[in-house]
Amino acid sequence: MSEPRSLALPTIGGETPTVVHLSAEYFPYARTGGLAEAAWGLHRFQDRGGLQTMAITPLYRTARQHLRHLEPVGDPYTLYFGDRAETFRLMRDLDPASETPTCFIEHEGFFDRAGIYGEGGRDYPDNHRRFAAFAAAAVAALPRITSGPVLLHAHDWHAALAPVYLRTWWRGDPFFDRIPVVMSVHNGGYQGHFGPEAMPELGLPWNLYTPDRLEWYGKTNFLKGGLMYTDVATTVSPSHAVELRTPAGGFGLQEVYQWMGERFTGVLNGIDLEVWNPVHDRHIAANYSRGDLLGKAACKADLQRRFGLPDDANTPVVALAGRMVTQKGLDLVIRNHALFQMPAQFVFLGSGEQKFEDAFAQLRAAMPNRIATETTFSDALEHVLMAGADLFLMPSQYEPCGLTQMRAQHYGTIPVARRVGGLADTIDDGATGFLFDAFDDRALLGGMWRAMTEHRSRQAWLEMQEAAMLRDFGWDRVAERYSELYTQAIVHRAGRAG
């Protein structure tokens, strides 16, 4: 691991601020998707870069399994949401093995449950109260974390009420007034909208239920509220920032993103190069590097063996892994006859919607020597796939950021992906992968054909693999970019406060 780059922030009132991340998911305590790793990854590299940092996340039942050295920070404290009083404790993780300073909001009623967002495929009916409580309790806890200045970084809709409470409940308090806020939208499709009757339960006055605050098509919209009150907002890729500003891609909040102007921007997430690195990956058959790709051939043979495919070094292996859901563009794959006429082997890893699992099973039954499937996803198997495959297919309908394509390139596995969101920003078409535009079968076929053509030239393919592996997708770069945005937020807040 290379030495982390040093990071710096402007001072607030002559002191360097502490960066406090608020996230409903945080690795390894609670994780359902990319949010947990994104918040953790950024925090970790900010910490390594020399920033004063803290993460605050709910103390879920799943989190308790990981925590053995929790200690309360101060006494329990009570906040009032309308006529309901809720009492919280701020707990701090003192485990010396923990990589990032982390605090937890303890509230047994809200968070000591079997699930994070729900159980049995259903959301908890009081999620609006749970995450409003998390946001307010976290803001209230800030003076317990530091007496100095704070910069608040709220992630996704679950934390989006934090800036709302900050600028309403605590308005007029010098400690809170000077706190700049950055909001990150990891998935703009999830906004946390509830009926208007939620407003009193959130402890928010009705005068905030307006189109320029939290009201959204007759509902209370957490994410919208957070965006209206934040200083700076980000999403997870520059292209997705553009998409979110359009009616087709804005999930109904495009006007808010447009209104924010330059205060809303896209920053790519990074990947963990300690975990995802073919040079020392322990899950793969042989290690390899950009200068010596011999080991990748052994990984391919291992992949073919594990998945029951013929051991054939020349036939390209096309992989597709992750959640088998409509958003991933799998409709373009399962019905694409011409795709499966190509001289390639296909490996599908993951589970999801039944229709896709069934379709892949049928394809495997029809072409067992060319198609393999595995519905039980595991991190280890994803590593095997990443190292052994020649091509990675990502025909997503939309993809705010996406990490698979970055990992694939780092493993010299060439992505074939749709030109959306983070895929468009991280794949250099024709140089490190292939992009196609239209969401239809022929466009996918065209992209695959371009890739297969390139694969037939040993030299051209090698150049492409080396170019892909040269790309920098580490968190260092991301952390530097966030420091610039924090600076923008600090300047913006200073202007507002002044």
């Binding site: 140089a431 239809d440 076929l445 065209g446 297969m452 030239s457």
Partner: protein, 550 residues
């Protein structure tokens, strides 16, 4: 430090197999093979024996490669050799009968020459493609490709058509030569930057079409060639590590003796351009001001009938054909040597006068100029490389190597134009050829409107692919060029119309998507036996059709 020298030969003939023999048809490719391609193989073999490192950047258009590897070409060339030898057998008696005894030595010269070529043809097992591939693998030539049928890209109405030309071309090159090409000979060096498009009132107006370089990048090409005046026309920017930094200083601008990055793409691999040197190239190709007009060289236009032998020298470019003197191979060989010496000194002079930042003299020519139009041109190339090996002055490299050794540091926005007459598109778009474009453009529209539906019907693939072949074949820039020059205008007109009619006969099936397609399949199969290059086009059609309209 001396400049590098990038000699580039662009080889092309339109699809002529199965479309007549003489005076227009397969004889064209047989003539080119005897006059140029086989002598070029001999040249490469000679330089291999002599140990002369003389990298040549050799372009072979996909449609030419497809013909050179076609069984019909081998049959035609065997017959052509036999005919030439029979002519030579009969020539002495014929010359004696006509009293042309002074031309008998030329017959002996030709016999030796043709027998040498036949021996080469046999030695390479009648496989020119394999011979070129062998020399490419040995590093003596760098092979580059082109648009599939040499379509005049800036005048095609649909971006999908441009992409299909390039994608199908690159894939055919891979199929023929076993490697993907990085370089592209953009047909006629015809380039159009991003902007509005409507070359004729009948053309469908498009307010913003992407530049040719974007299509090249999409197809996987990394560099191409333009004429110097295109580089002159645009604005220059300084490049550092692939990113544009600022506008170039005046001294960095538009020298033809360096490569440039084309445009300033926000991402993606940049496309580079090499600029044709006007000074040195004119010296070679011009029949009037250049070397080929020397009186000692073989006269191209005076042909003896019967037999079709060329037995006279240029004598004087202004002389009537009747005043041409018998050809003297020894004197011609001497002329080639002197011209090679002169050319080497010319290169040396250009190199000596190079500005800071200049890297190479880029000299592209039609391959067929050497040997076919200028019979001694191949000897000239041999002598030139010997001269350079002996005296230096410049360093011969391939185009790809030049770009690896000296990556461009300046980006250019190129102007519009070609290497044809007037530097513009007028050789291909003029009152004599307007009708061809007005017929082509609606056919492009119909094909690309039908393609998505047809791609979804696997049973239609043979029909769709044959329609694409006909579309590609009718897009060859040769038809307009020949019509403009008037030399074989009837043939070009006939060929263009035939391919239009073939496409028109296939389109209704693709447009209406009927379930009973047996008749259409049989028709497509019959057409394919005649017009059959590029065996697999489905993937290229799919990739070409994925065009963003924004």
């Amino acid at each position: 430090m001396s400049l590098r020298f990038v000699l580039t030969l662009h080889s092309h003939l339109p699809w002529v197999l199965h479309h007549g023999r003489w005076p227009h048809g397969s004889d064209w490719i047989c003539e080119a093979a005897l006059d140029t391609y086989l002598p070029l193989v001999q040249l490469l073999e000679t330089m291999e024996r002599e140990g002369i490192a003389a990298p040549i950047t050799l372009g072979v258009t996909p449609v030419l490669a497809a013909q050179l590897s076609h069984p019909s070409f081998s049959e035609e060339l065997e017959a052509y050799f036999a005919h030439r030898l029979k002519t030579l057998d009969e020539a002495p008696e014929s010359l004696r009968e006509s009293g042309d005894h002074d031309l008998l030595p030329q017959v002996a010269f030709w016999r030796s020459h043709i027998e040498g070529l036949l021996a080469t043809w046999r030695a390479i097992d009648g496989n020119l493609i394999a011979a070129f591939r062998h020399h490419a693998e040995a590093g003596r030539i760098e092979l580059i490709s082109s648009a599939a049928t040499h379509g005049f890209l800036p005048l095609l109405a649909r971006d999908e058509s441009i992409r299909l030309q390039l994608l199908a071309g690159r894939a055919e090159h891979l199929r023929q030569f076993g490697e993907l090409p990085h370089g592209c000979w953009v047909p006629e060096c015809a380039y159009r930057p991003r902007g509005p498009w409507q070359p004729l009132p009948a053309a469908p107006y498009q307010h913003d079409r992407v530049g040719i370089e974007d299509h090249l990048r999409y197809a996987g090409f990394r560099w191409f060639f333009v004429d110097a005046h295109l580089a002159e026309a645009g604005e220059a920017f300084e490049v550092y590590e692939g990113k544009v930094r600022r506008r170039a200083t005046p001294s960095m601008r538009r020298s033809p003796y360096r490569a440039y990055q084309v445009g300033t793409p926000p991402n993606g691999r940049p496309v580079h351009v090499l600029v044709r040197d006007p000074q040195t190239t004119t010296q070679v190709w011009s029949r009037h001001g250049g070397y080929p007009g020397d009186g000692r060289y073989l006269e191209f236009h005076k042909i003896r009938y019967p037999g079709g032998l060329k037995l006279w020298s240029v004598t004087d470019t202004s002389a009537d054909l009747g005043d041409k003197q018998p050809y003297d191979p020894v004197a011609a060989s001497e002329a080639a040597l002197r011209h090679a010496e002169h050319f080497r000194t010319l290169l040396q002079a250009v190199s000596a006068a190079a500005l800071r930042g200049d890297t190479a003299i880029v000299a592209p020519f039609d391959t067929e100029l050497f040997g076919h139009w200028w019979f001694e041109g191949i000897d000239f190339l041999h002598d030139l490389y010997q001269e350079i090996a002996a005296h230096g002055g410049v360093r011969p490299v391939s185009a790809g190597r030049l770009l690896r050794e000296a990556p461009p540091t300046t980006a250019l926005h190129l102007g519009e134009g070609s290497w044809g007459a007037n530097g513009d598109f007028s050789k291909w778009l003029n009152p004599e050829t307007e009708w061809t474009w007005e017929r082509l453009w609606p056919l492009e529209d119909r094909f690309w409107q039908a393609a998505p539906g047809a791609l979804a019907r696997p049973d239609l693939t043979p029909i769709l692919e044959q329609a694409a072949r006909e579309l590609l074949l009718l897009q060859s820039s040769d038809w307009q060029f020949i019509i403009s020059t008037g030399a074989a205008g009837d043939y070009a007109t006939k060929r263009f119309v035939e391919h239009c009619e073939a496409l028109e006969s296939l389109l209704p099936t693709l447009e209406q998507l009927p379930w009973n397609i047996d008749g259409a399949l049989a028709h497509a199969a019959a057409l394919r036996r005649i017009d059959g290059p590029f065996p697999e086009l489905l993937g290229a059609i799919a990739a070409a059709s994925d065009v963003t309209t924004s």
